[in-house]
Assembly symmetry: C2
Homo-oligomer: 470 residues x 2
């Protein structure tokens, strides 16, 4: 191993091979679910260095854990506890390489922080629409590796849909020059989408060409009280029809989730629609004007009020109010944490089946686990719920988790599967859900995934044990 | 082989195993570039039958050519001349299985004709936006297999972006139940996008769940004269800013292409903007009203006229006029055929580089090949040109093709590569471009494609020789 470390020092420079001191920022996952130990943390500064690192590790039979901002929620980018894995941090490769305004594209290195990318786009007069809670520290490489979702998916899709081309270092340490600003390219298999969402198990994404959009002239936010989840689904259909592609956000929040925000962050002033089980946050982006956006929004909400799928609603009067409303939505996970340890499920279900899924699964959990409290919120426009489980009031949450987590996961995931859903909507598999995937994914799909993994990483050195056990 | 034929008759019924009579509809490709000879044409009626056929063929070591409407342009779905390949026609599997209105999805079998799918969506009050010249006879399975593009890609993406899930029979004859109405699902490798665009070389797509969109309230068409391709690119940028997602079509047409329509189809009355080198067809789809769409369009065109990137423009007064304008655009390939044999190039280039690409390549061809005539048109909004070459006026086109086609292809494709483009934007590779792909695709990408092919189809029985030579 000393020989390998020496080689790595030559490739990236001694200062960029970290083997001593506190490496917990790279070795522990963001949720502190896993504490790892690395052989070394390597911080290459260029694609060629990444390729050289991969070749050196492959020659030594040492496995590599690619890492961006280390903000993932499924322990997919941190080393295991063996002390034999190398963490390959892309953080130094953070350049915005080029913006092509007429082509509506931006080319960035993998370590570019999402917010930096958003700001570079905005300075050039464009929107880069990917937006999620960790945007101040997650990197575009990590977003691509996990096919991150977020709050604008209802209009712009996941990270996958925003990417036109990739530069990748393969498991053999070769550079695939797949950067491309083309919106149409039918020359063979879609390698780009194979790497996107593969969580570093097939190779290392080093750069990407991403789509840009014109900046909308106005973005308006509304908050609507809905009498049921069925009503929320009806409202979603009306919003699609009235706003078309203007509908850029559609978030649902259960009343208990909101009550946690009101309780732990009283300064946030949650709108007083406490007599309804759910509220919905809607965003309307408009290419014409603020006035037009408001008129469209008001027409939608009038129709919704008349039809009964909305019982009350407010449209934010200005940007500050809009931010306040979004901030309430984004504070739910923090309020949950304040309330105590909890069990998170990032699931998706066909939109049409969500109300029944929630009825059935709420009842099932209430029956099986006394006093359980459900924090249900998420991106209803994409069929994506964060269906989280809080320990009974006053109980010891860590005892509850120890005793009930496995059972609750099984109950929830079995129900998800019965409703045609996915046990990981936007967070990925990492190491936390590897065993669950084995259980819930079809054997035919798993066999094809293993065949692809063996084909592209025959030594099983790229982030082994994540996504798939080989 | 008799034993295999007997097995196939048992699986799909004797009437659905065609071995005699005129099979040219299945054996010859649409452009009549290749005349094949099949061992048999098999027409299964259900997914299980497809799986049984694939297993029977695999056991006999017989290769399979999946086929939809046989309207492809690159000879990718017809058998070779050996008489040893089975054509697997999906035409009988043409059901619309389900429409889920609240989920905005439709599930259809592979043999469903695109127009049937469009009409089923419209009857349910939705838009299925994929639209292309062959829509009356191509099938959604073929569209998926080739990742077809068409005229709405600027807003809705290629077939790939419209698909949420697939049902596939693998090369081993197993059924992958990958149908899904989920917009977010991060549970492992993206097998869906691997099959899309693989032209039947990895398995057989038997059904798909596709996205639906709300029907727009209005669709307006405009025709604009532009003084140059640079001006057309400027107009595209203005259209994105003014119309946002309302911009659902942006086609460019060179004056010579239009003159061929005017000459061969004089009844079509091409708008009289003959003093400009290019015209642009724009479409604006609106969720509000006809009046709003028109006001938006007029504001865009006024701005464009003032800035000089448009010299003249008309907005269609009604649906009939709009259809007439689109019909002119769609008649260009037919007018080309009337003019004589020609050489087609379906290429893409970053939008920003298209004007220079055309200047450089036009000049190169004019210098190298005396009297050459260029029919240039296409989906400028996607960077996709149909950059076609017509024989010199009055010459013998078949002699010209025989003597010049290879050389012209080389000149054009080398120029495409120099400009960071693709030699197949929306038509695929098939057998016509296999050798070209070998030359223009990066060796790293080709090696990964071959590894994936070997992993999923180790016997090389799925449409062998198309896309990749193994």
């Amino acid at each position: 191993m000393n020989h390998l470390i020496e080689s790595l020092r030559r490739i990236v420079g001694p200062a960029n091979v970290l083997t001593e001191g506190d490496l917990s920022a790279w070795e522990n996952d963001w949720r502190k679910r896993e504490r790892g130990k690395s052989l070394a943390v390597i911080r290459p500064g260029a694609t060629k260095e990444v390729a050289d690192v991969v070749r050196a590790c492959a020659a030594a039979g040492v496995s590599i854990v690619p890492q961006g901002g280390n903000t993932g929620l499924v322990a997919g980018s941190t080393p295991d506890a063996s002390g034999t894995q190398v963490v390959l941090s892309l953080q130094r490769m953070n350049a915005v390489r080029a913006i092509d305004a007429a082509n509506l594209t931006i080319t960035v290195e993998a370590g570019c922080v999402l917010q930096t990318l958003q700001e570079a786009a905005e300075r050039a007069g464009f929107l880069f629409p990917l937006s999620l809670a960790a945007e101040g520290s997650c990197t575009i490489g990590g977003n691509l590796g996990t096919n991150a979702g977020g709050t604008q998916v209802v209009r712009y899709g996941n990270t996958r849909e925003l990417c036109l081309g990739l530069e990748v270092v393969t498991a053999q340490g070769e550079v695939w020059e797949g950067l491309s600003g083309l919106r149409k390219d039918n020359t063979g298999y879609d390698l780009r989408d194979l790497f996107i969402g593969s969580e570093g198990t097939l190779g290392v994404i080093t750069a990407a060409t991403m789509k840009l959009y014109p900046l909308p002239s106005a973005r308006l936010t509304a908050w609507a009280a809905v009498p049921s989840l069925d009503a929320a689904v009806t409202l979603l259909g009306l919003a699609h029809r009235h706003l078309g592609a203007g509908l850029t956000g559609f978030e649902v929040m259960g009343q208990f989730a909101l009550s946690l925000v009101a309780c732990h962050f009283p300064q946030q002033r949650v709108p007083l629609f406490q007599d309804v089980p759910y509220c919905v946050l809607l965003e309307n982006s408009d290419h014409e004007s603020q006035a037009h956006a408001r008129a469209q929004f008001e027409r939608l909400l009038e129709t919704a009020l008349e039809s009964g799928c909305v019982s009350d609603a407010v449209v934010a009067e200005n940007l500050t109010q809009a931010h306040q409303l979004w901030h309430i939505r984004e504070s739910i996970p923090l309020a949950q944490a304040e309330e105590g340890l909890n069990i998170k499920h990032d699931i998706s279900i066909p939109v049409s089946r969500i109300p029944e899924f929630v009825r059935v699964t709420d009842a099932l959990l209430a029956r099986e686990i006394a006093g359980v409290r459900l924090v249900n919120f998420g991106h209803l426009g994409d069929g994506n719920l964060h269906y989280n489980v809080q320990a009974p009031e006053g109980g010891d949450a860590s005892v509850f988790l120890r005793e009930q987590e496995a059972r609750i996961n099984t109950l929830v995931f079995d129900s998800v599967q019965a409703f045609g859903g996915s046990i990981s909507a936007e967070h990925g598999v990492g190491s936390l859900k590897v065993d669950k995937l084995e259980h819930h994914k079809s054997p035919v799909a798993l066999a094809m995934m293993r065949a692809v993994k063996r084909a592209l990483d025959p030594q099983n050195l790229m982030n082994p044990g994540r996504v798939l056990r080989m």
